[in-house]
């Protein structure tokens, strides 16, 4: 594993809202090394998907993105739209959620997988289609040479997810950004998607998920978001054996295999993010007076955790 291929510095994303500006992502610092698999976990609305889209500047025009996103010595937020268009798909690829309508229903699967090769690699249509078929075959689509000429509705959910991964890999992108690859997917299919992701050995993958089962088996490092902020970053084994942040501890304790113990309450409303103090303190079993100030991310044995409990 080499140096950081993707580095996010002080990234913030703001959306205009009737009640003022909402900061959906707040000062996130994260580096992903070459070949590394990182899972970004957190509940719905914690800002993890917005972060992923912000990296590729795929957010709607109303969003304001602050900070820096470095990819191999280039600031993606400073790139011209043309430069960025050339990099999307070729260097960094986005893999959307499979269950939704991410595929074009009126184009055959083969054409959709071949398109990035025509655009980014300058291949002919015939050559790109040939490669698309071999890619689909490699990703486990049965009878790929026939099924490449079928339409998305003729594919099962697990196969559609494979197609989306194939599209992400088509132009040989080295960094894959995946959004909830196992959301709303049942057990056998979840296994299938896990195996597919485990087969992406040489790629750098940052995946957003709320599926801890998947994160534990796929990632090497886990980053946890709560209410728009990173609250913990840790190697996978450390995280699942000894989570540090009280939210992370509650998250793991809520798993059926670990006793299904629920943490009461809800995450704070995104309009209250501007208030001072730790955003988790209202639900935190360990909150004390210091939590009225916002905790920074503390470094501890190669892990980072945003909690006053770990202040020196």
């Amino acid at each position: 594993m080499g140096s950081a291929v993707l580095r996010v510095n002080n990234l913030a994303v703001e959306f205009p809202a009737p009640a003022g500006v909402v900061r959906a992502v707040d000062r996130v610092e994260l580096a992903v090394r070459e070949g590394e698999k990182v899972a970004l976990i957190g509940e719905t609305g914690s800002g993890k998907s917005v972060l992923l889209l912000a990296l590729l500047r795929l957010l709607p025009a109303g969003a304001r993105v602050l900070g820096e996103v470095w990819y191999r010595g280039k600031d993606l937020l400073g790139c011209s739209p043309d430069e960025l268009r050339r990099m999307r798909g070729k260097e960094l690829a986005y893999i959307p959620q499979g269950a939704g309508g991410a595929l074009n229903p009126v184009l055959t699967v083969g054409i959709q997988v071949a398109e990035p090769m025509v655009v980014h690699l300058g291949l002919t249509r015939k050559e790109s289609l040939r490669r698309a078929i071999s890619l689909l075959d490699r990703l486990g689509i049965p009878e790929a040479s026939r099924r490449a000429f079928e339409y998305p509705h003729q594919y099962s959910g697990g196969m559609k997810q494979r197609v989306l991964v194939a599209m992400g890999m088509a132009a040989e992108a080295k960094v894959l950004l995946a959004d909830e690859p196992t959301k709303g997917v049942d057990w056998p299919r979840r296994d299938e998607i896990l195996n597919l992701f485990l087969s992406l050995k040489e790629k750098t993958v940052l995946t957003v998920t709320h599926d801890l089962w998947f994160a534990e088996r796929f990632s090497q490092r886990v980053a946890v978001m709560y209410a728009a902020q990173l609250v913990e970053v840790a190697p996978r084994e450390d995280f699942f054996s000894r989570p540090l942040h009280p939210y992370a501890q509650a998250l793991l304790a809520a798993l059926p295999a670990r006793g299904l113990k629920p943490l009461p309450g809800y995450a704070p409303a995104n309009t209250s993010y501007g208030e001072p103090g730790c955003r988790f303190r209202g639900r935190c079993p360990r909150a004390f007076s210091r939590c009225l100030e916002e905790p920074p991310l503390f470094e501890r044995n190669g892990r980072r955790v945003r909690c006053w409990f770990y202040a020196d």
């Binding site: 509940e43 719905t44 609305g45 959301k183 709303g184 801890l212 059926p256 299904l260």
Partner: protein, 233 residues
């Protein structure tokens, strides 16, 4: 016995010209008594939702009978049918599809009162939603302004307004994160302790079913197999 399905059979016609027949239930029998939780495990397309829909009377089986408190569904008179409709409810995996997106929550939650001519007061709705962990501020919101967990709680509150005796829970936590899932399952358990309601818990998560259900069955190729009695938590 509270609700009973006997020899239920159901198949669907699929394919472009609806020529292929897929049998999802072949002679399935299942009985649930008052206040207990029974689990049904199965993959997608195994027919577990179909079974839930038949027991709630939302679709008709091709063969077999459904009995509620010993009365056969087909032989019920209008009054019995209305009472069955009220006492047997269902909660779905995607709560966002169970609410009218153009209605504020208060209007959606007062609908059962209108339908069953239960005297309505805003306080009773408020009590109903406080019992599931929501508050007055949620009533003024549209479904799009609520999280998945909040919407699922609202769906539970709406169902509980009718004092049901049996609820089919069709993957009620499938789209929720771990903490919200644990909250919702505990809420179902509390409601059961309080009101004695029985559940049919449909899921693909055996681990979760083991914690929640007293008996578990697997639905495979149209037939139920017993996975043995389980210890609840």
């Amino acid at each position: 016995m509270l609700i009973e399905g006997i020899d239920l059979r159901k198949s669907y016609r699929v394919g472009w010209l609806k020529k292929r027949v897929v049998r999802v239930l072949s002679r399935v029998s299942l009985a649930v008594s008052e206040g207990e939780t029974v689990g049904i495990i199965g993959g997608s397309g195994s027919g577990k939702t179909t079974l839930g829909l038949i027991l709630t009377g939302l679709i008709k089986p091709e063969g077999g009978r459904v009995l509620f408190r010993g009365r056969e569904l087909d032989g019920m008179n209008v009054r019995e049918r209305k009472s069955y409709r009220r006492k047997v409810q269902i909660i779905f995996q995607h709560p966002e599809t169970a609410f009218n997106p153009k209605w504020k929550l208060l209007r959606s939650l007062s609908e059962p009162y209108r339908l069953y001519k239960i005297p309505f007061a805003e306080e009773s709705v408020l009590k109903q939603i406080e019992a599931v962990g929501l508050g007055a501020e949620h009533l003024a919101r549209y479904p799009a302004q609520l999280s998945g967990g909040e919407l699922q709680r609202a769906a539970i509150a709406r169902v509980m307004a009718l004092d049901p005796e049996f609820i089919v829970l069709d993957e009620p936590t499938g789209m929720l994160d771990a903490i919200t899932q644990a909250q919702i399952i505990r809420l179902f358990q509390d409601l059961q302790k309080d009101k004695g309601v029985a559940y049919l818990f449909i899921s693909h998560d055996l681990e979760l079913a083991r914690l929640f259900c007293r008996r578990i069955y697997r639905l495979r190729e149209g037939e139920l197999e017993t996975l043995g009695p389980e210890k609840g938590v």
